[in-house]
């Protein structure tokens, strides 16, 4: 009995990342779903203290 079988017993609750039409179609089927307003990640590799330096 895997988690896949467990999923078969549960109510589907979906996180949709990408095409909004997929999300709309799930809502039409009365499925609980949340659409992620996804954006590509930005670069975040700055050291914190040097951040203050930048603001000097």
């Amino acid at each position: 009995m895997t988690r896949i079988n467990e999923l078969f017993q549960e109510e589907l609750k979906i996180i949709n990342m990408g095409l909004e039409s997929f999300n709309e179609n799930l809502k039409k089927q009365n499925v609980k779903t949340v659409q992620v307003d996804w954006k590509p990640p930005t670069r975040r590799n700055k050291k914190m203290l040097s951040l203050l330096d930048k603001l000097k």
Binding site: L7, E10, L12, G18, K39
Partner: protein, 518 residues
Amino acid sequence: MVLKYLIRENSYYDSVTLMIITREVKKIEGVKEVIVGMGTELNKELTGNLNLLTPELQKITPNDFFISLDSVDDNIAKKAFAFVDELLSKKKAESEDYQPSTFESALKYMPDANLVLISLPGKYAVREAKNALLNDKHVMLFSDNVPLEEEIDLKKLAKQRRLLMMGPDCGTAIINHVALAFSNVIRKGPIGIVGASGTGIQEVTVMIDKLGSGISQAIGTGGRDLKAKVGGIMMIEGLKALQNDPLTEVIVLISKPPDKEVARKVLSILKERQKPSVVYFAGGDPEVIKEYGSVPGLSLEDTARKAVAIAKGMSIKDFTGFTVTNINKIIQEETKKLNKKQRYIRGLYTGGTLCDEAMIILSALVGDIYSNIPLKPEGKLSDINKSYRHSLIDFGDDEFTRGKPHPMIDPYVRQERILSEVKDREIAIILMDFVLGFGSNSDPVGEMIPYIKKARKIAAKDGRHICMISSVCGTEADPQSLIGQEKKLKEEGVIVMPSNAQAVRLAAAIVLSRRNSQ
């Protein structure tokens, strides 16, 4: 430049509502700039900097709420404010239209989510899929353009965590009777499916429904699951789950021709348990399937018929014919309408596996078939935009869809193609599939009808009749009306067959009948 503003005095709205309003209004096409907030000095100053300040706005106090926006025209502004009014009047702390900006914040919002459906560009999709698996969520990965190595890593990770990893390139799945991505609405029943093909799953599930039975689950694995390197990981996990599922009595496997070793591996696992199974490995060897105790399906329709027969406790028979009663009459009539020169079949397909199935059936009956996705390398069209002899085109293939929407959604490419095809004096038959269900265009047939009409006109100019044959892959419960779609086709003189296999066999029968009569 249209400036429009809204003031609500002494009005307080919770932060989540305000955040949603700002986000949603910014998204409306034609809205250039918007500012939302309370009437503090600084907010007013910022509003002034954005050229959105009016004398009325200047007068408001920090306890007054305002929105000011700049749009391209008055209609857009009205639309934006109607939308805002609607949201403000809801007065809920959390609107159901909340769109978190990351997977992590989505999890915060819905911690009991159990499936993540990903259709992001390939290179980002992998990261998100992995993240989802590491958070113990099942994944359906619609995106393609994922390197094979990454697919293998994802599936291995999923297997380790005992989760579903449907994809990459998985376009169809029906889990707990929910149609995911491109899927149809299918009756509940005892047949469980695992498929490495989107339209393959669609055609089989639709047929099962048409035959009065239903499905428990339809698990997609993505097109490459049965390649040697991937080793059928997901198909095996899927079929094990169906073996353990009390609501599944019959198991169906669907795939393009798998790697031989992988096929044996998968079949041997099927053999381990007592549940009867029907296997469609397109163009594969039925003997190998029988060797492992499963029933081979000779076409998608035949697969469905056999599964339903098993489920109903009836005897299993190979089906390679027609269910249409006056079929011989149809063949004769169409044959008569064609002139001496007309002899070729042109298939214009939106579903890859349907195109495959058509090629397999046709090449056995009428000879060489050319395509953009040929069965043999020699069959590859040198110019995919120009057909040659018997040609079947899959418009959903990468070469056609790069930078464009899929033909199941946007019919443009197929519309253009049918007009160029009929200019060829040697064509006799045009084959077309129409795929319904969630994800597809809201009126696939309606979109093609004007072009079918025009095509007939072009052919009629030099006295040619074009035989048009179709099948509609859909159920009555789908968002598009199956009966309505079929009716529109029939009214245009298109012959509507109950399945892709039968449509293709009819085309072959007409060609052969013509050869015989010459």
